[in-house]
Point group: C2
């Protein structure tokens, strides 16, 4: 029997409104023993955690059972994350000590990964092949970009204007690159929150226009960039930017509703329902211009993931797609700050927490 | 040369907010002479006017060029309507005196119909065959129901729940009947604004549930009627009802966004933009449940209208579809009140103004 003194982040209380780390999360020190392992379980060490906006939704006050695309995480449960873990002890014939695995695990230095808790029959648990940061970048958000753009968005015509919000984020930066470098779309417009990120969008992601929504000239810049109207709007933000885009859609244009990060940290359920920020005028344009809005989740494309990863890998090899990563080093005590960095838009590309062991 | 003293309704000033007839419209008496007719023109007498919610949009303050699906009607122009007119004088080889025509004409006892002003190359000008009220009922709103349900809505599975708002209106009442009597949909839920209209929905339109949104139990009634969640929501109202429906959509459910009458009479452009009434929570369901929202206009299906009218006619003959009409008799001075009746939901089925000549 071996014992590990584990530090694990639990959800103490799902907070309303802007998230507060102290009130929401609690670091618990707990002794894990190899005796605790059931058949199939792994005792694992956290190496890299994927920071994804959707994690904010898992702990939203109004994400109740049946109103989220997965089981919500409730008060008193371990916080979850996609991540890369090293196997320290194995009771599973498929894995052995020293293996690195991709898993839906926990914010923890040491935790137990079980096929029961890593998703439907352990679907989110497999051995890492190749570069683990690339796996987090393409395996979670890259495939979202791939399916969102090519399937839900049905992007085809080169002579299009495609607008992408949260364009310098993990998903958006891949959408922009596929649109420009693979599909050869004429006008790719990326929206982000700083001039530095605009530079990345132009130099690395191939955007024809890179717009800073915090700029005083944003509205005019947006009108200039979309002067031919929008064929496809890939929405990661919801709210005001979605509203602006709806007002500029071409007839029969499409909106892929992939995320709504501007709304995630605003789950105030005390008073009146929080508005989605869509105006009467914008909604009428949906009718007048016969716009299609398509909600999408990558989970619908589970049977095509290998094809997607193969294509993404090929495009990397051909120089059409670059990994844009923001790797942040943190001791386990600091891990929840990654969620804040994401919600505040401090990252460029995929935000990955690299856990440091002192 | 023959002269006619015509009474014609003009748009005096496109009003903001709730429409006010006195401020918005002006009745002008004008002398029309056969000498005024250009080649192709007809001098016509108004017999029946179709009352359609979309007419409110043609004169909305924020319906500016390029932001409506057709040319807006601006201050100082004649008010337009779809209607049935009798030809009094003809300078057009296709029509002769005494013919009854369907036209996009004017709110007027006497007016000039010109291929130039009745839509693209006179597309909205043709001779009436059969019952003229049936033509207004099926030719304008019935075909909207047909294409909205069968094409944009792609309704197929019998084991579905279909929810229809403004269900006792001209479009909604046809949607409900096709869903139940032609497609054999298991659960057809109609939403309307009075108990009397609920009776019509149940007895004539085949609704399994008929809900009065003004009832104090509406919310609970809605939850009961949609306990299996919604496969297809046919939206004619927008706003609060749309919001409720989005919160109850099944995974991969569809919304046909055909109208938004609850928003039409609310074009206050003085202050902040008027909200579409969609909450954060409802918008997130669009993503979580991968909902498709499809804006639709009947004009996209121009090449299939004869097929639609043939099908609708066949279903009438087979007893599967009933004409539900609300024919209101009015002297020309009272005609604008039809728009108010519609916006207040005073009609059951297709509201048609029959012009009385004293």
């Amino acid at each position: 029997m071996t014992k590990y003194s584990a530090k694990q982040w639990f959800v103490k209380k799902r907070t309303e409104g802007n998230i507060n780390i102290q009130e929401t999360f609690e670091l618990v020190t707990k002794e894990l023993s190899t005796d605790d392992l059931k058949e199939g379980d792994l005792l694992a060490k956290g190496l890299l955690f994927s920071n994804d906006p959707t994690q904010r939704l898992w702990i939203s006050k109004d994400s109740v059972e049946g109103k989220l695309y997965r089981a919500p995480i409730v008060d008193g449960e371990l916080m979850q994350t996609y991540g890369i873990y090293e196997i320290l002890e194995s009771r599973n014939a498929e894995f052995e000590k020293g293996d690195q695995v991709f898993a839906r695990g926990n914010w923890a230095d040491y935790c137990i990964l079980s096929p029961d808790t890593t998703g439907d029959a352990g679907a989110f648990l497999f051995k890492v092949q190749g570069d683990p940061t690339a796996l987090l970048t393409f395996g979670v958000t890259g495939i979202t970009a791939y399916f969102g753009l090519l399937h839900s968005g049905a992007a085809t015509s080169k002579d299009s204007t495609i607008v992408v919000s949260v364009a310098a984020g993990a998903t958006g930066s891949v959408v922009c690159q596929i649109a420009k470098n693979v599909l050869g779309i004429k006008n790719v417009v990326g929206i982000t929150g700083s001039d530095a990120k605009c530079e990345v969008l132009k130099k690395t992601c191939g955007c024809d226009y890179a717009l800073n929504y915090r700029s005083p000239t944003f509205k005019a810049d947006f009108e200039e960039a979309t002067k031919d109207e929008i064929d496809l709007y890939f929405d990661n933000t919801g709210g005001e930017t979605l509203n602006m885009a709806l007002l500029r859609m071409k007839e029969h244009g499409r909106v892929v509703s992939c995320g709504a990060i501007s709304l995630y940290d605003d789950d105030d359920t005390k008073g009146a329902p929080v508005s989605a920020g869509i105006s009467r005028e914008a909604w009428l344009q949906v009718i007048y211009h016969r716009v299609t809005i398509q909600g999408m989740l990558v989970t619908d494309f589970a049977d095509q993931i290998m094809k997607a990863l193969t294509d993404l890998g090929t495009w990397v090899a051909e120089g059409k797609l670059q990994l844009i990563q923001d790797i942040w080093e943190a001791e386990i005590e600091e891990v929840p700050k990654g969620m804040l960095k994401l919600l505040r838009g401090e990252n460029t590309g995929k935000l990955i927490t690299k856990v440091i062991y002192p």
